[in-house]
Symmetry: C3
Subunit: 303 residues, 3 copies
């Protein structure tokens, strides 16, 4: 582990090792560590984020590192016309590790080529958000004790949503029983994702209605279907009900069903669900800090 | 003390205990403490602030805590449509204490209900800014040795200004000789504030002209009267002179009069006054750090 | 050394002492120091900056200090109409040292008058950016072993660019062989700068074309010529080729020529140059942290 660019660069044994380390930090969350004392972590968030940024910041500080950076491109030298490579080289000069968030596909990998410091992808383009996928998989591992053999529905915008795509890539490193890819036709999973599933021999089905599969799954991974994705608003109106979870729909689900969501959510999950045992998304967010602590430790120790 | 939502939730003995602790930190301001080492303090400032935010941040860091958060709702998941409760739950997952600043009345109390971490109100709505009131009262305690028995004028926008309202609530926990509530008719103190004064048996008078009372008070608490509050600009022009302090007006005041102001001030206090012995507002700002150190310590130690 | 406002307030022996200290921190960049533990450094950036701000922040944190502040005037009390002196007094109350960046000439010196804490100018107005000049001079000292006796071209906007003006002031504290001031007529060095060079007996020539001097210099200090400076865009089109460095132009230069740039750069240096041995600007940026560590230590220890 040097750079963390895509979940597909890893194998299940890497992730299992990461989960072990995560367990350790989860059990010692109250402790202030000095493991990364003297290290500077740069957060280069060219695109806004709250959860990813603050959990990386919290993780770094809990390990004794200091944190610098920016939380949007506004007011930085990028606005003065500086090229991306120069901004990355500046951060490389000041720090020991760079977390990059960018709206362009490939930005993190390019940063890793430019920088001799390790680079972690904090989400770029429409497919890659590897640390989110690690957290998602860890959450399932904590809930069920294993990731293999479960039935999954990944729901919503599978075309532009990087969290959903990364989660699917991540599942394909394990042996899921089946993955239902549930989306409107316009927002189906990208060809690269589908090819990856096939190359790994993962069983999957593409569906359009969550209601059809809700009774057949152990995990629902929800993401938002944004109205703006639809060229014609009436198309959106037609499908939106199929991508919204409420208690009525859950009547047909297994009592042990768990709902994940990368958050923030808007209205794709009814608020009534928040307090039920179905809701695993707050726990999932909570795991962001210990998992990122484990990851920072592994990357900066060169393990 | 778990949550700090309104100054009215406290009694004078709580504040006196807080002042004692504040004295301790004031006398040891050069020291770096490790009392809160390993703790993370979240600053959730949905509404901008400089003084409150930076003094909380300074206080937390001087105690050895780390600080995360945001200084405006811009660029956060709130802009993506996340509900307030989910944002608070995220911060709860990452940190040990949350300071909330919000323009809506009741936001801090709601955050405290949602969060198992203690919540401190960094100012919400039009009435509550409890830590500012604590600093104001501490300043008077340091200047005069006591808060009881003094004559106060609270001046300016008593209707929309949360610092003024909280200060009046705070005075009512002690035994002031009298409080003059000096404001334009449109900006008079809210009914809740008046009721509280009555319920506590505090003597007060509502006035419209600072000049009428300036010679009869020991403390003037100035706040700004904003032009925007007046539906008719000519109404503002008529009254503005009555809510501006200059040396001429102070000729009629006691030589020992002290002027407080929650800051920032714009032009409601003539710049000539800044260097006189009347001006207590810079000292008041200075006390922000040791008082917030004391408060953070008490809240996080569960005392 | 108490305040650091202008490079002209220093003498070469001060800078040589600073360079010695910088060498020490450069050789110990991996270490976390506790020299400034318990100190708070304020970054008061009323005008955006990335490099200066982040390298001060990194330097302070590597020394064990804590950092507070703001990275633009937006969302601060300045926007509510607070005067500059009150903002500085607030930071003075919370911290031990203030770094000021402001677009107005003299802002840093005024801050130093208002504040009892030491103030470091992080760049104000059109002439002063003393810590940038220190880094520039240190870079030359590291590259050549000495600053005296070399031939310099300072290129670009010498009228409005504070980095270029400060670098020229800084060179005049040493004994350069010659300084070519290369700029379009509209962007020639200010009279104060010229007078300073004369008063120090420094040999210099004003030129308009970099090509004419490129073969006669050891160091080129590039800065950007901004189109917006020209009242008539066609004037800009006429001159822009003379203020752009590419490999073709460098064919006529000494093999040992070094190119400095305060960064960020836009297109005034061809990207092909970045990887050649001419390019000293990434190293220059890298020295920002150890030099500012040395400076913070000297200022806060009162040396």
């Amino acid at each position: 582990m040097r750079d963390v660019i895509s979940i597909t660069d890893f194998e299940r044994k890497d992730l299992e090792y990461l989960f072990e380390k995560t367990d350790y930090f989860l059990n010692n969350l109250d402790k202030k560590f000095r493991i990364l004392e003297g290290k500077i972590v740069s957060l280069a968030f060219f695109e806004p984020s709250t959860r990813t940024r603050l959990s990386f910041e919290t993780a770094a500080k809990k390990l004794g590192a200091d944190v610098i950076g920016f939380s949007s491109a506004e007011g930085t030298s990028v606005e003065k016309g500086e090229n991306f490579a120069d901004t990355i080289k500046m951060l490389e000069a000041y720090s020991d590790l760079i977390v990059v968030r960018h709206r362009f596909e490939g930005a993190a990998r390019f940063a890793a080529e430019v920088s001799e410091d390790p680079v972690i992808n904090g989400g770029d383009g429409k497919q890659h958000h590897p640390t989110q996928a690690m957290i998602d998989l860890y959450t399932i591992y904590k809930l069920f004790g294993h990731i293999d053999g479960l039935r999954y529905a990944v729901v919503g915008d599978l075309r532009y949503g990087r969290a959903a795509a990364s989660f699917i890539y991540g599942l394909a490193l394990f042996r899921p029983s089946i993955i239902y890819l549930v989306s409107p036709p316009l927002l189906k999973a990208r060809r690269e994702v589908i090819e990856f599933l096939k190359s790994r021999g993962v069983r999957f089905e593409e569906r359009e209605d969550l209601g059809e599969v809700i009774s057949d799954v152990d995990v629902v991974y929800m993401t938002r279907v944004q109205k703006e994705r639809f060229p014609d608003p009436s198309e959106y109106e037609k499908v939106k009900g199929s991508y919204r979870l409420d208690l009525k729909l859950l009547e047909r689900a297994s009592k042990d069903l768990k709902i994940l969501h990368p958050l923030p959510k808007v209205d794709e999950i009814d608020l009534e669900i928040d307090k039920t045992s179905y809701a695993a998304y707050y726990k999932q967010a909570f795991y962001g800090v210990p998992l990122r602590m484990a990851l920072l430790t592994l990357v900066l120790s060169g393990e």
